[in-house]
């Protein structure tokens, strides 16, 4: 598969362009969605990211990568930022950047961890924590464009840490062919039959796809989760080249 073509063309992708914060939504106690407006944004693929660059008054610059959380809505892009205590960039974006303030973005970026609506294979999405962000972009891009069956297995510490919980509940009920299952690692809801524990093979067997369905698997989260889940999927018989991973981290 040739995967070199991305929307926007090369020149637009590599240039730093001004972006204005137009809306902020609280997702959890530590995560916020930022809506940025970028002139002449040519669209992007679900799973792609942007680099965001901040410049301080003394000229110091810091750039970080953030996954796009939704399909483009004209010039509006959404990223969801998890605040990392002591981080250099995320606390500023999550708390201090004001409506109307300007940053710079470069993108859309990446061609590996992407889902295209013309891919009709079943899809297994496995998220750890804020690793759900690019997977949510795939779920949102699927609605109305694809009938590919999707299953999301979403590992979080506690029920309060779920990002997009209300929308996922609604979509699981309304978007045909989307199943959502949670794996709680520290504290589960009272009515949950599964005791809190890290994700294990039974979770993927119960809520994923059998290997002979040949699903495309997207795994995103902190490095330890990504490595454990990718290993479990291979051990269960999934072809390594059908498993795409993205490790989240940084500040």
């Amino acid at each position: 598969m040739a995967r070199a073509a991305v929307p926007g063309g090369l020149r637009a992708r590599r240039a730093w362009r001004p972006a204005v914060l137009v809306e902020r939504r609280t997702e959890t106690s530590t995560a916020s969605t930022l809506v940025l407006e970028v002139d002449e944004w040519a669209g992007h693929l679900a799973g792609q990211h942007v680099d965001v660059r901040l410049t301080s008054q003394d000229g110091y610059q810091a750039a970080r990568s953030y996954s796009l959380a939704a399909p483009a809505d004209g010039a509006r892009l959404e990223i969801t930022v998890q605040r990392v205590a002591g981080g250099e960039v995320s606390p500023f974006l999550a708390d201090e950047l004001a409506i109307g303030d300007r940053v710079e973005v470069r993108g859309p970026l990446g061609g590996w961890f992407v889902w295209r609506p013309d891919d009709r294979s079943p899809v297994l999405l496995v998220a750890g924590g804020s690793g759900v962000v690019p997977l949510m972009a795939m779920i949102r891009a699927r609605a109305g464009t694809s009938r590919a069956p999707f299953r999301l297995v979403y590992s979080v510490r506690t029920p309060a840490d779920r990002i997009y919980a209300a929308e996922l509940r609604r979509r699981a009920a309304e978007d045909g062919g989307l199943d959502v299952a949670y794996v709680f690692t520290r504290e589960a809801p009272e009515d949950s039959p599964r005791p809190p524990a890290r994700i294990h093979a039974d979770d993927l067997a119960a809520h994923g796809w059998p290997p002979d369905f040949e699903p495309t698997c997207y795994v995103c989260g902190p490095t330890p989760l990504v490595e454990v889940v990718a290993g479990l999927l291979v051990a269960a018989g999934h072809e390594p080249d059908r498993i795409r991973t993205e490790r989240f981290g940084g500040s």
């Binding site: 070199a4 990568s65 995320s90």
Partner: protein, 92 residues
Amino acid sequence: MTHTPSSGPYDGNALAGPLSEVFAVEVTTAVARCRGCGRSSAVAELAVYGPEPGLVGRCPGCADVLMRVVRRPGEVWLDLGGISALRFEVPQ
């Protein structure tokens, strides 16, 4: 490298932006062969350390340094010394 979960890629996928400054095509989907152990990996699959003073991409198999990208005002340093070959898929 911190393992603190954040909100964006922190592996070879994160090299897409920095490498877009010097390559004409998407590099993260290219397959890199490690000069040390011979393993072939998509650039997106590399373990990445940084971002300061530069990004370091290591082989997911043997952890050898495959590439280093250092951005300075007005220049990009690119060290591909750990890679014996890069394979790009291109349109026919």
